[in-house]
Point group: C2
Chain length 349, copies 2
């Protein structure tokens, strides 16, 4: 499954790897996801696999470089998430899904664990990197969430990069919308969820998210999430990604968390906050708490998806209930581990 291009790219990445931190250094860690809505194995080509690998690897490298240089976890996750937003592969930023009226409305949030400061934007158009707008809300306003035109105004005021609709147009997401509209007509307009009516399972083409969580040398955790939302969503629909406690949560005393999957279910079970609460109130470790929420509570509530997390020791947790999740992590030694399905990590043997 590995192409020549993949190997070349990997060699380049290894050359570009940052110096690993020494064993005496405080723990650092970065984990990223590109959504649990992975392409089914029959639609995943070797070329696409390499492309996903490269984007995840680039995101990990960028964030890890920040951390090894003593940068903050907020800077690290922003570095990682902007790379995933800029890639047309993921349903966030450039590769955003379309609403039923053919527009792209973007959601994102960010939170830092040392003081519970947080920010988010919902249903914002034209902003190239919604995670940067979320950061502006966190750092430069007294608010936690700013929506729609208000978020756009804020982005304009802060001179964030804007892009016209054509920038966000990708053939893949446009085709998904057309397919979904066609099927909705077949189903008499009742095709409202992301479930495939034929199989009763989640159809991964219709949703997706990117996210990152990091622990920096100062011991501070940050988490962030960004998405274009669900294909054929109602204009103005806000998913879990901009909601603190649903998709994103960070508390130095517990963990940083970023989720992906069926946003509406994450919202009603408060997935990210429940992970933190299970650690605080029940003493679960980060992987056990993540598994309890993603593999049990989320599924019991009719949802599906995945999540990533890091605790204060730099322990990394990843969990998903779907077929896979684009994901990867890096810790002090600088080795970047990348996965898509249940199998071994994506890397040359």
């Amino acid at each position: 499954m590995k192409s020549i291009r993949h190997l070349i790219s990997l060699a380049g990445a290894l050359l570009a790897a940052t110096t690993p931190l020494s064993a005496e250094s405080p723990p650092i860690a970065l984990v990223v996801h590109g959504g649990s809505g992975v392409l089914s194995a029959d639609r995943m080509t070797p070329e696409l696999r390499v492309a996903y690998y490269e984007s995840l690897d680039e995101a990990l490298l960028a964030g890890h470089t920040v951390l090894t240089r003593g940068g903050s976890s907020v800077d690290a996750i922003v570095a990682a998430i902007t790379i995933l937003e800029d890639s047309p592969l993921f349903n966030a930023g450039r590769g955003a899904a379309f609403t039923r009226t053919g527009t792209n409305e973007l959601d994102a949030s960010i939170m830092r664990g040392q003081d519970l400061e947080a920010g988010g934007v919902s249903a914002v158009k034209y902003v190239k990197n919604p995670i940067l707008a979320a950061r502006v809300v966190m750092e430069d306003t007294p608010h936690v969430l700013v929506t729609a035109d208000g978020a756009l105004e804020l982005a304009i005021r802060e001179e964030l990069e804007l892009r016209p609709p054509s920038y966000f147009w990708t053939e893949r997401r446009w085709n998904s919308l057309q397919e979904r509209i066609k099927r909705n007509i077949e189903y008499g307009g009742r095709l409202t969820s992301a479930l495939d009516p034929a199989t009763g399972r989640l159809d991964s083409e219709y949703y997706g998210t990117v996210g990152a969580v990091a622990l920096d040398q100062a011991g501070n955790i940050a988490a962030g999430t960004s998405t274009g939302g669900r294909t054929m969503k109602m204009p103005g629909r806000v998913g879990d990604s901009p909601i603190i406690g649903a998709a994103t949560y960070a508390n130095n005393a517990t963990a940083g968390i970023s989720t992906t999957g069926l946003g509406e279910v994450h919202m009603v079970i408060c997935s990210a906050h429940t992970v933190s609460a299970l650690m605080e109130m029940k003493g679960l470790d980060v992987q056990a708490a993540l598994d309890e929420v993603i593999c049990k509570r989320l599924v019991d509530a009719g949802g599906g998806g995945g999540a990533i997390a890091i605790d204060g020791n730099g322990d990394v947790a990843m969990s998903y209930s779907d077929d896979g999740m684009y994901r990867g992590f890096v810790q002090n030694d600088g080795a970047r581990h990348i996965f898509i399905y249940d199998e071994q990590e994506v890397a040359p043997e």
Copy 2:
């Protein structure tokens, strides 16, 4: 402090009281709040006190009537909240606070405890009763939160009542905005929070919310919250009121909760969901869980405000960290108990 008009109104309310349920009936309960941002005692006139009393009483009577007739907790809280939204006294619906550009942008959410279904609208204009729009999102869409113009479109499609800006204009809230703008200029544009710069305390004139929680004869809990948000907020600012887990949560296994106060802090500590989590994971009763969140965690995080809750037994809890909270409750016996400050309930002696 009681006026003749108050006594007459109370007599009328007693005459209109619904038949109390018998002791064998399943427990029912309704609790409402009109915000923890109460007028300071020196600004509270006897006339205003009566007006607040009457609105809260009317809301309790309407909701209790639904419950005694076997109606659902969702119908009961909607009946109560629409009355509070229609009153110009409370910062929700008609009495909504103004954004810094002089517009009214409304937030609301609703959740039911038997299946965790939920709905909310954020930053929506012109909708007379945002709680009805939140209910439409819960019952008639696959989504949990719809924002801004998308929420307005939904309201138009569902033929909800719309009102022009003049309907939402009240002299009191307009004067609050003008005062706040003036003070902001004095403070060089840095007056961003709801804290009074002179006292360092929350200024109750600048925020407020309404909410209700009910338990019906079928044993189902519902909770809802509605607000105009914070005076001089940035256009597009979304507070805690439309956020499931922040201001509103309902789970038959724990409780229904509605909060009020500094929305941004409720959002980052996930106040409503934390109450539910403390009951589920730590075995706290509803009053202890509410006190832990409102009097400890909220204050520790730099916030202030209040909350109401009902558990599956029909036990009612109310808690606040400010000077008071417009609030009241009614249970099986039909007696309506109404409070504003710490003192005895507002009623004829």
